[in-house]
Subunit: 374 residues, 2 copies
């Protein structure tokens, strides 16, 4: 971060688009103010090319209209993978140099809730299938769609911020957890990848069609990604499996592109790979070093069957600060020796008191950055 003065964009005035023409067209040159003038600036600090600068509205953070909707995902791992995954996907279409991030402002909370419910006479907008009255896991209609996430990507023109693109993430259940009676035992309906994709793609087209009718969306590109949640008990988050774009104001998405991404948790039984055996060696060295048994796991991310990222988590008990320092030094040594080169790696060491230290190596770097919290 440079200690440069924050860009004085405070005078940049952005007016919310409110064009009543549902067929849209980019309304940025003719904004209609529905809410009074709003000062929009951005954070001057962009953490890396992986992150967008964020829009600052009236000196504050503009929260999502469906704030908290991702809290309903299976786990915090899924929440983080879903939100950051949609940002990564968006970078292919909206580059971080020219686009600014804004939390979703076009799908409101009531709308999103209705979409997530089952379709019924009372709720014609529901995207999940109707209740067929069955309770058995292989007979009932499961909830396919778990959460909808909107992200807005803004562009700056003549000191004004205007909508440049929208990304929509659909978080789908590979397992639908349900109760037969309220507060009863939890049952599971498994959903095949094929069925999940078929349902997700249909929903994507419905959502795009509805968004095109939403005030202010107009003809801007809409990116849609379908995310497959990992199970509740998984230590890895889920992944986006396909994506598509709706361009030129189309009410459908274009061709779907398979993403071939997956996350697996090391150690893994019944599998062999170079990465895995190297990780096993790392784990065994680390566990032998320290007298209290450490939990050593990793989330390994693959794209097109290539390992692209690794997040290592070590949990152990410490009896003092010098133990944390010595252990961290040792882990840094062994990480350099055993973990794969040329991919980003993040290692956190935790105790009952929280994160004690962490190491991080970005892509293209040969050194680990190490920090001990003391």
């Amino acid at each position: 971060m440079n200690k440069k003065i924050i860009a004085t964009l405070a005078t940049a005035v952005f007016l919310l688009s409110a064009c009543s023409d549902p067929t849209g067209g980019n309304t940025s040159n003719n904004p209609v103010d529905t809410k009074g003038e709003t000062d929009k600036t951005t954070t001057s600090n962009q953490l890396s090319n992986d992150y967008y600068k964020t829009i600052v509205t009236d000196g504050g953070y503009q929260i999502s209209k469906t704030r908290g909707s991702t809290l309903g995902l299976n786990s915090n791992f899924n929440l983080k993978a879903f939100e950051t995954g949609l940002m990564s996907l968006s970078q292919v279409h909206f580059d971080t140099g020219n686009y600014y991030f804004q939390e979703g402002q076009y799908i409101d909370s009531t709308t999103a809730n209705n979409w997530l419910k089952r379709v019924s006479e009372k709720n014609p907008d529901g995207l999940n299938p109707e209740d067929n009255g069955k309770k058995e896991s292989n007979e009932r209609n499961p909830y396919y769609l778990n959460s909808v996430l909107e992200q807005d990507y803004m562009i700056k023109k003549d000191d004004k911020f205007t909508l440049g693109g929208i990304s929509i993430g659909l978080s789908m259940n590979a397992i639908d957890y349900y109760q037969k009676v309220e507060f009863g035992d939890e049952y599971k309906t498994k959903i095949s990848r094929d069925e999940l994709l078929k349902q997700g793609k249909e929903m994507a087209n419905k959502i795009v069609q509805r968004l095109r009718k939403t005030e202010g969306v107009g003809k801007i590109p809409i990116v849609v990604g379908i995310f497959e949640q990992s199970p509740k008990d998984s230590l890895a988050g889920g992944s986006f499996i396909v994506e598509a774009v709706s361009e030129n104001g189309s009410t459908k998405v274009g061709n779907w592109r398979a993403l071939n991404q997956k996350k697996v948790v090391f150690p893994l039984v019944d599998e062999t790979s170079n990465e895995l055996s190297n990780f096993e060696n790392f784990k065994s060295e680390v566990e032998n070093f320290f007298p209290n048994l450490s939990g050593v796991t990793a989330e390994a991310s693959y794209t097109d069957d290539q390992l692209v990222k690794m997040k290592v988590s070590i949990i152990t008990q410490f009896y003092g600060e010098s133990e944390i320092i010595g252990f961290t030094q040792y882990v840094a040594d062994k990480a350099a020796t055993f973990l794969p080169p040329n991919i980003p790696i993040e290692i956190t060491i935790e105790s009952i008191n929280g994160t004690e230290s962490f190491m991080s190596r970005k892509i293209g770097e040969t050194k680990f950055y190490t920090h001990i919290f003391n």
Copy 2:
């Protein structure tokens, strides 16, 4: 961290010194093996000049003979300040380039426990004063000494590691918390700085005298630091207030040197300073930005009345990952603008899920390193 191969010091054999001559002399050239041969190597990774390389014994971490003794301090803040503070103090006498860290191996657990107890007929080695039978806070004899920490500093000669110095920390109570009856209410005896120092200095001489009689210690330099604990409810750790060295096998420490270090927690009421008002501005900007009220505090470390270090802690509630990213970017902006330049600063952002992100700027650096855990 370089990805260099770990120094193959595995053949370096270190034999525990066990010279029976209590007047000592550096026994490193004539080691007597009491426990069988022990392979000692070191971590090849030294995190920064602030940290010593750690001795690795038989591929494992050699724990302290009084392991866990610092867990009895008033708080985790005190524990970390006590252990890392003694390491910092040691660096003045044992430089990190030539000395290696080893957990204390000369004061065993039984010995330390006896020292920490009250002196009595049954426990003649007790360093805390005898029980005078009084229960009132201003009449009873308080426990002055809370914990004793030993750190060993090793030097390498001809591929062998030998003891080069010992540092002893005495953690003293500025407040002695006690119960009048077992499991009863907690009462406090306050101890003045003068009394604390007087008692600590006397104890230091007794400890040095005893250490000189301990097998293997010989004439090596012994650094002693007196640490004043912060209260249980303080968000800052305590500080070392004086230090002295015992050299050439002396059974006393030499002249005491005042350290004039203190830690204060920002925001502070009833005080004014440039640093404080800058911090207040930072805090106010950060709190206004985010819709959920954030707890923003800092531990400011002073040496000779100069601010030398700042640790900022921000605790807030997040409803999604993009909020964490946007908030972190904003905090990084404001930290660069409002927080003091030219000192090391560490900022952690935490939620109920633990550490979400952190920023760190070392001394001499102008950029913050930023990391988001996702």
